[in-house]
């Protein structure tokens, strides 16, 4: 089955249809809404597989279908679909993970009164996300980009009666919108410079040689090449959406949404959209690499931000107690990894990690969801514990996901993708700092994941909720199992010896692998680091499990200051509240004050002047005219009385007069010879 590119729109259209159906379904139509959403997703999955077949038939080609959307006379805004291996792989991943999460959600939200609405929003999200993937136009991508933001907003705020959820939703939307404004400006600039927003357009697209050559040839403020400036502005959008430093603050709060949402949007797909965006416009980002004069290369910034984020996220994750927050910061950290990979020039490694991460992080989130559901919405790992026994399937799959994330060697997909990134970072000739940050994050990742598993599943149950937990229904466990299998197997499409995925993404039809042990030193090092991380984690949390809810964390015992800073997430939220928030309030107060006092005051002053003038005028005025015409009227009345005597009031008389008058007239005319 292969899919012509003209029909690519069907992939997002199916979930969109399901979303529309869901919006119109009344609350009681639960089966209808969820069934339609799942069917649509399955359909999209099949179509995506078809698209993948098409793309793999000629991996180097960028199949496009463009059409005019808005004709402005001289400038025509064109949109289009694009099919290449990047799009196809992403589509398959999104639809597959999405399908599993949809199925999981039918169990997770079984008791929610707004069940139909949830599937409407989920389908809307899926539609927007898939639209974003198939877009061949930065504008279409931006439209879908904003729509996934909307869907994310709606889903985070799904339990809108919780003030924290409503606030988190708003925060997520606003924070990502800050980044989006950068993207918007970048897009405007790009459009203004090249006259097109299509990625590929038979040589006319912005990612093709002509346009790129033009962009890199001009310079702008500070000697930056225009392409660099545009690239950085676009990267702003990615920073916001992918929760990169310094706009990462919304992502942990976004965990207020239902857990399947966290799994789908804030782990597997939407947050990866930033990575996808940079990978998509990679030619634009990379075009300034050869330019010596520019003070800054776009990719350097990407790599730096990525490295900072990876390290910072991993550090904060160590000290979080909410099971979902740990995973959220882990996501931030892993996204940093991907950015790092993009920055150091290996976008295929980034996509490889994106794909594997999507599966195992979705697995972890769904696992945590399973735990939360079983434990009656208890999310605090200090109050959980001992779930290994009652929730065997969840435990096993969660442990597999944890090992994949930690990078336990050889068997797990996370290992291979992470190796690819570290390998690329080692090969970056600008700096080795990203490599060191990445290596540090490896240790931390292994450490905090071990902590998480140990606290949640080992030891003894520390609360009533945990004690009464039991395994969930198959509708929730089966997706876990499937995802776990994928988390293991997916690594084998991109091992160094058989880098099938990388080759296809690079547009090659053949696989060029090399020996596993080429550059083996780094691999050994990272294996050792993983072992250290897991070992120390087990030493601190696994051997002597926490016994009471209020017991201090082992690290807190060692260094309360560091642990406090980490738990407070380095105080970013407070910092922003103190600076940006205040500035915002002050500007608003200024704007309002200007209105109330300055402008309105001026108006009032003018009005007072006017009133005074009116007062003077009134005093000067007095009565002018009086008089009548009665005498004249009397005369007219007298004349009229004369005529009225002729009116007898008898109709016969009048008629007779007319008849006689007629006769007389005729006689006069006939006899008088015409007067």
């Amino acid at each position: 089955m292969s899919l012509p590119v003209q029909l690519l729109w069907l992939i997002p259209a199916l979930p969109l249809l399901a979303a529309g159906l869901g919006a119109l379904t009344p609350r009681s139509g639960r089966k209808l809404a969820s069934g339609a959403a799942i069917l649509a997703m399955a359909g999209s999955f099949l179509l995506s597989c078809g698209a993948l077949m098409t793309a793999l038939a000629d991996p180097a080609a960028h199949l496009v279908h463009n059409f005019a959307w808005l004709d402005l006379g001289e400038g025509v805004l064109r949109l289009g679909w694009l099919l290449d291996p990047l799009t196809a792989f992403m589509c398959v991943m999104v639809t597959f993970v999405g399908l599993l999460i949809f199925i999981f959600s039918t169990g997770y939200l079984h008791e929610d009164p707004n069940f139909t609405r949830f599937f409407c929003f989920l389908s809307l999200f899926a539609a927007a996300m898939l639209g974003l993937l198939v877009a061949n136009s930065l504008l279409l991508l931006f439209i879908c980009w904003e729509l996934v933001g909307l869907a994310s907003y709606l889903l985070i705020g799904f339990w809108f009666h919780k003030p924290s959820a409503a606030a988190a939703a708003k925060k997520a939307f606003i924070t990502t919108r800050i980044g989006d404004l950068g993207l918007l400006l970048g897009m405007l600039w790009l459009y203004d410079s090249t006259g097109s927003l299509l990625f590929y357009d038979g040589g006319q697209g912005v990612l093709e040689a002509t346009a790129l050559g033009g962009l890199v040839a001009q310079t702008t403020i500070g000697g930056l090449a225009v392409s660099t400036a545009i690239g950085l502005l676009i990267f702003c959008g990615a920073i916001g959406k992918s929760g990169q430093f310094p706009l990462h603050v919304w992502l942990p709060d976004a965990m207020e949404g239902p857990t399947p949402v966290s799994a789908l949007i804030h782990a597997a797909t939407m947050v990866a959209a930033g990575v996808f965006l940079i990978a998509r416009v990679y030619p634009l980002m990379a075009v300034d690499q050869g330019l010596a004069t520019t003070p800054l290369h776009a990719l350097t910034v990407v790599a730096t931000i990525g490295a900072i984020t990876a390290l910072m996220g991993a550090m904060i994750a160590v000290a979080q107690d909410d099971i979902k927050r740990v995973l959220a910061f882990s996501t931030v950290s892993q996204l940093g990894y991907m950015m790092l990979a993009l920055g150091v020039g290996s976008w295929v490694a980034a996509i490889f990690h994106l794909l594997t991460h999507a599966f195992f992080k979705a697995l972890l989130f769904l696992g945590s969801g399973s735990v939360i559901h079983a434990a009656h919405h208890e999310q605090d790992i200090r109050r959980l514990g001992g779930l290994r026994g009652p929730m065997r399937i969840t435990f096993v799959t969660f442990a597999l996901g944890m090992m994949a994330l930690s990078g336990v060697p050889f068997l797990f997909s996370g290992f291979w993708s992470k190796e690819a990134i570290l390998h690329a970072a080692q090969g970056w000739n600008v700096s080795h700092l990203p490599l060191y940050a990445g290596l540090a994050a490896v240790v931390l990742t292994a450490f905090y994941m071990t902590r998480l598993v140990a606290e949640t599943f080992f030891g003894s149950a520390r609360s009533d909720e945990a004690r009464h937990a039991h395994e969930n229904s198959p509708v929730m466990t089966v997706p876990l199992v499937i995802l776990a299998v994928c988390a293991i197997l997916l690594g084998f499409i991109g091992t160094p010896a058989f880098p099938w995925l990388q080759s296809r993404l690079m547009g090659q039809t053949e696989v060029h692998g090399h020996s596993l042990f080429e550059g083996g030193g780094l691999m050994v090092l990272s294996i050792v680091l993983v072992a250290i991380g897991i070992g120390s984690g087990w030493a601190l949390y696994g051997r002597r499990p926490r016994t009471t809810t209020s017991a201090l964390d082992p690290i807190e015992k060692i260094s309360p200051g560091l642990f406090g800073a980490l738990r407070a997430r380095f105080g970013f939220d407070e910092l922003y509240a103190a600076t940006v928030g205040r500035l915002n309030t002050a500007t608003a107060a200024l704007a309002d004050g200007l209105d109330r006092y300055v402008w309105d005051g001026a108006v009032r002053f003018l009005a007072a002047l006017g009133e005074f003038a009116g007062f003077v005028n009134k005093e000067a005025d007095e009565d002018v005219l009086n008089g009548g015409f009665d005498a004249t009227n009397d005369k007219i009345r007298g004349t009229a009385r004369l005529y009225s005597a002729a009116q007898t009031g008898g109709a016969h008389g009048y008629m007779r007069t007319v008849a006689i008058g007629f006769v007389l007239l005729v006689l006069i005319v006939m006899l008088g010879g015409g007067l």
């Binding site: 005529y643 009225s644 005597a645 002729a646 009116q647 007898t648 009031g649 008898g650 109709a651 016969h652 008629m655 007779r656 008849a659």
Partner: protein, 105 residues
């Protein structure tokens, strides 16, 4: 003098007109007066048709159109006139025309 069909028609219409006129002039019943006037209108219509039929350009159909309009107007006139009669009757309990001389100057 030759009596053409047109002459005949015109005589017919004159006769009808005068019958209507005499009726209107002599009868005291307002309804009959109105009917007399209707007859006069009809006589005029007969003239239109006659002149159309024997006129120089019967294809144009102007006479016919004129009559159509005249019939419409006559119908309106009859309706309003008789309504007036009823109103007068209700007011004065009489429809003798000479009783209705409110407008005497």
């Amino acid at each position: 003098m030759i009596l053409t069909p047109l002459h005949l028609c015109l005589i017919l219409s004159s006769a009808l007109f005068c019958i209507g006129l005499i009726g209107a002039l002599t009868r005291s019943n307002a309804i009959l007066v109105l009917l007399g006037i209707e007859l006069m209108l009809n006589a005029a219509n007969i003239n239109f048709i006659a002149f159309w039929r024997y006129g120089p350009n019967p294809e144009a159909g102007t006479g016919v159109l004129f009559v159509v309009f005249a019939i419409g107007v006559a119908a309106a006139e009859a309706a309003v006139g008789l309504a007036l009669v009823i109103a007068i009757y209700r007011h004065q309990r009489s429809i003798r025309l000479q009783d209705a001389r409110l407008l005497k100057g």
